[in-house]
């Protein structure tokens, strides 16, 4: 019971931030920014003793209690130590981009350790609207993240920076004037800021312009990954793009540059959509209606298939070929179809087969509610 209570704060249905439709949100699904921070005088998590990890945990949670703003952002039960989180809940947080795959991995019970006492030193804090999340003792002592719907780096970054300043007034960060904020991996030093977008580029994929586009992005030193990581580029027509260099440019430059890249991509995708609608209208309509037809009538849907169909339907909604579905409904389905989110939504453990059935029926239900 204890374990479940810890996560009651998190919205079981859908992250509130994803419900809003904002600027360019039909193409850019979300904008994420994160800071990596370490406390001065304590080894980085990979080298810290359990005592030191606990020290870090306590210093951060004390800071949250001490500062009224931080306390409001991260209310009761924040942070939650990983020993109070089940594996399923960890996957749920991972699917919502609130923790990293490595961090979720920690919650998988280990055969060589009898109890999970050591997990008390690792923690996660999430704001009520799920825009802000903080991992304690991941690769660095602190990984602070803000996620916003659509292309919205300005608001997201301001919030991130505001929270970071609050922590900085209470904690001593590892910092050098030459290298900036010091991190466990030298690839993150400097501003220690990573900015990334999750972007939906179906028309660029269909017109086969995508490879050229992504190569150009790679050449200017930005990282491109598929939704599930490398090698899965075309799943759901979704791509993640982020800066790789964090040193030698100011935070504002990093934010401005990624915003410009996102805008360029949006323009390019829009041009490709126009081209498709002009030259291949029937084929595109067919593709979209088929995807919609499958989503509204299939009895078994794997998360991968559902995600791919959903991506095609999303193109239909954005181009106004489909008018009876809203983007926020699609966003909602996109989160709920994921294995752990689906199980926690129904509050029951399911086998993959049961999940495919429940997933299909839930999607049918949500889409039929939209029709009326």
């Amino acid at each position: 019971m204890m374990r479940n209570e810890a996560l009651t704060l998190i919205n079981k249905t859908v992250p509130p931030w994803l419900d809003q439709e904002s600027q360019n949100s039909s193409i850019v699904i979300s904008s994420r920014v994160r800071y990596a921070r370490n406390l001065a005088g304590i080894p980085f998590p990979n080298r810290a003793s359990n005592y030191e990890l606990n020290q870090v945990y306590n210093m951060i949670s004390e800071s949250i209690k001490k500062d009224s703003d931080l306390k409001t952002i991260f209310p009761v039960h924040n942070p939650i130590a990983l020993d109070r989180i089940t594996r399923l809940q960890a996957e749920f947080l991972l699917e919502r981009h609130l923790i990293s795959p490595d961090f979720a991995q920690k919650c998988i019970p280990r055969k060589d350790i009898k109890n999970n006492h050591h997990l008390k030193a690792y923690g996660v804090a999430v704001s009520e609207d799920e825009t802000v999340s903080l991992m304690i003792n991941e690769e660095d002592h602190m990984r602070l993240q803000v996620i916003m719907s659509g292309l919205n780096f300005e608001q997201g970054f301001n919030r991130l920076n505001y929270i970071d300043n609050k922590f900085e007034s209470l904690l001593r960060y590892a910092y050098s004037p030459r290298y900036g904020y010091l991190t466990a991996c030298p690839s993150n030093i400097g501003t220690a800021l990573r900015a990334s977008i999750l972007i939906h580029l179906p028309a660029l994929v269909i017109t086969k312009e995508i490879e050229k586009t992504l190569r150009a992005i790679w050449q200017i030193n930005y990282m491109v990954r598929g939704l599930y990581g490398e090698g899965t580029e075309t799943k759901g027509y979704l791509f993640q793009i982020s800066n790789t260099s964090s040193l030698g440019q100011s935070e504002a430059d990093i934010i401005t540059n990624i915003t410009k890249i996102a805008q360029e991509l949006v323009n390019y995708e829009e041009q490709s959509r126009e081209y498709l609608l002009k030259n291949m209208k029937l084929e595109i309509e067919d593709k979209i209606y088929r995807a919609y037809g499958l989503l509204t009538s299939a009895r078994l849907l794997s998360s991968e298939e559902a995600l791919n169909l959903l991506a095609t339907v999303r193109l239909g909604v954005a181009t106004q070929i489909l008018t009876n579905v809203s983007l926020s409904t699609l966003n909602k389905i996109m989160i709920l179809l994921k294995p752990a989110n689906l199980q926690l939504f129904y509050n029951q453990k399911m086998t993959p087969q049961e999940r495919d059935e429940k997933r299909a029926s839930l999607i049918r239900q949500i889409l039929s509610e939209q029709k009326n």
Binding site: F44, S176, S187, Q219, T244, L247, N257, E264
Partner: protein, 164 residues
């Protein structure tokens, strides 16, 4: 047919996409000769993603890398090369010569621009830190752990010295 941006020859072997300081995306098309003159091979190398650069570190670890250690946390440079993670903030000093080259490859530069820890923020942080250390000092004395108490006392002394 594209022309070389530099010598205008109607032959292009490589197109470089860059972002200038205003964030504008520019394309530079180069013929083979101009690309070689400009050392495009080198530019390309610096565009390697960090994962590739870090995984290259795992190759050819030398004896010297085992000898070079961080006095604060004890990891060797060889440990870092194997795992790609440093042990503590002092590693940046202990391995500074070698890291400088790596950081240049990873970021294209070695000096930080942007947000910094400001003295006023630091003062507040220091006071908070001292207060907490004093608490743990008290606890250490209560527990008669004098070795720990002495270490904490020195830590407090050092912070005070740095602030004044």
């Amino acid at each position: 047919m594209k022309h070389c941006s530099l010598c205008q020859k109607p032959e292009v072997t490589i197109i470089i996409t860059t972002i200038d300081k205003d964030g504008k995306v520019c394309e530079l098309a180069l013929c083979k000769e101009c690309a070689e003159k400009k050392g495009v091979g080198e530019i390309k190398k610096s565009f390697l993603p960090p994962q590739v650069i870090l995984s290259e570190l795992q190759e050819k670890i030398t004896n010297d890398d085992y000898q070079l250690t961080c006095p604060a946390c004890g990891i060797s440079y060889a440990d870092f090369r194997k795992h790609g993670r440093l042990g503590c903030e002092n590693c940046y000093l202990a391995f500074s010569e070698k890291l400088e080259v790596l950081i240049k490859r990873l970021h294209g530069t070695t000096s930080h621009i942007g947000k910094s820890v400001t003295p006023s923020k630091k003062l507040v942080a220091d006071r908070f830190e001292i207060k907490k250390l004093q608490l743990s000092l008290k606890k250490a004395i209560q527990e008669e752990d004098y070795e720990r108490a002495a270490a904490i006392r020195d830590q407090i002394r050092q912070i005070r010295q740095n602030t004044t």
